[in-house]
Symmetry: C2
Subunit: 122 residues, 2 copies
DNA sequence: CTGAATCCCTGCCGATACTG
DNA sequence: CAGTATCGGCAGGGATTCAG
């Protein structure tokens, strides 16, 4: 056993979860599920905007001017698919669609904070 | 302001850090720094192995049999470059190189745990 | 044993144009 | 207003081969 200066969990995840010992990338591994949700350029910025409250398509375009319609559409579809956000269409004209984080999506807050803290460290 | 069922940080990162309000992907954003460190297939599995202690190239190949030499080499180089792990060559023959997490790398433990917890949630 | 070099294939992302 | 359709460039990653 090697010397370790600070304590840290030797075992990641739940103690007896078989997904903590997979020997190749697996879509059922919680870590990969989370990283997959955050995957792609612009994704975390879109989530950040929605952490401030619900936003329309145009709101997001204005907040992130360099983000193209297509990629924004892709990101919103992906995040909706993985259960991070919900889409709410308003009837009538002009069409308005609001996006908001689901409860599950809100729980990404601490995750992003953990990433921030590590990236800001040292 | 929208209704929110649970409290969460409205602002991510440090209160007055300008990197918390960037409007496009930026390499100086701590969140992106962290995600960049974890980027790439197999990366988290390699880190997981090293969280258990130092490992040689062959150790890692045996632990992750489906991982090719080239990609393992790429991952080790990348993780070394971003300061997550250190390479220790042993003089003599046959050549032996051990990889171990840096203190900074060890601090990825909580980050991976946060990702796990979120991915395992619901 | 520990890698680096090469090749090819695939998937992402940006730009542009178009629709309900 | 809120998207979709299409295309092209480029980087990621796997297999194989070669080197220190």
């Amino acid at each position: 056993m090697t010397h370790q200066t600070v304590g840290h969990p030797a075992q990641l995840g739940l103690p007896d979860d078989p997904r903590a010992t997979v020997t190749e990338p697996s879509p059922s591994c919680p870590v990969e599920i989370a990283l997959d949700a955050l995957r792609g350029r612009w994704t975390t910025l879109v989530i950040r905007e929605l952490l401030h409250g619900e936003r329309s398509f145009t709101d997001l375009r204005q907040a992130l001017p360099a983000l193209s319609d297509k990629v924004l559409s892709d990101r919103l579809a992906h995040l909706t698919e993985v259960g991070v956000l919900d889409r709410h269409r308003q009837p009538g004209w002009p069409p308005r669609t609001h996006y908001r984080l689901t409860p599950h999506g809100h729980r990404l807050g601490p995750v992003l904070q953990a990433l921030w803290d590590w990236g800001a460290g040292r």
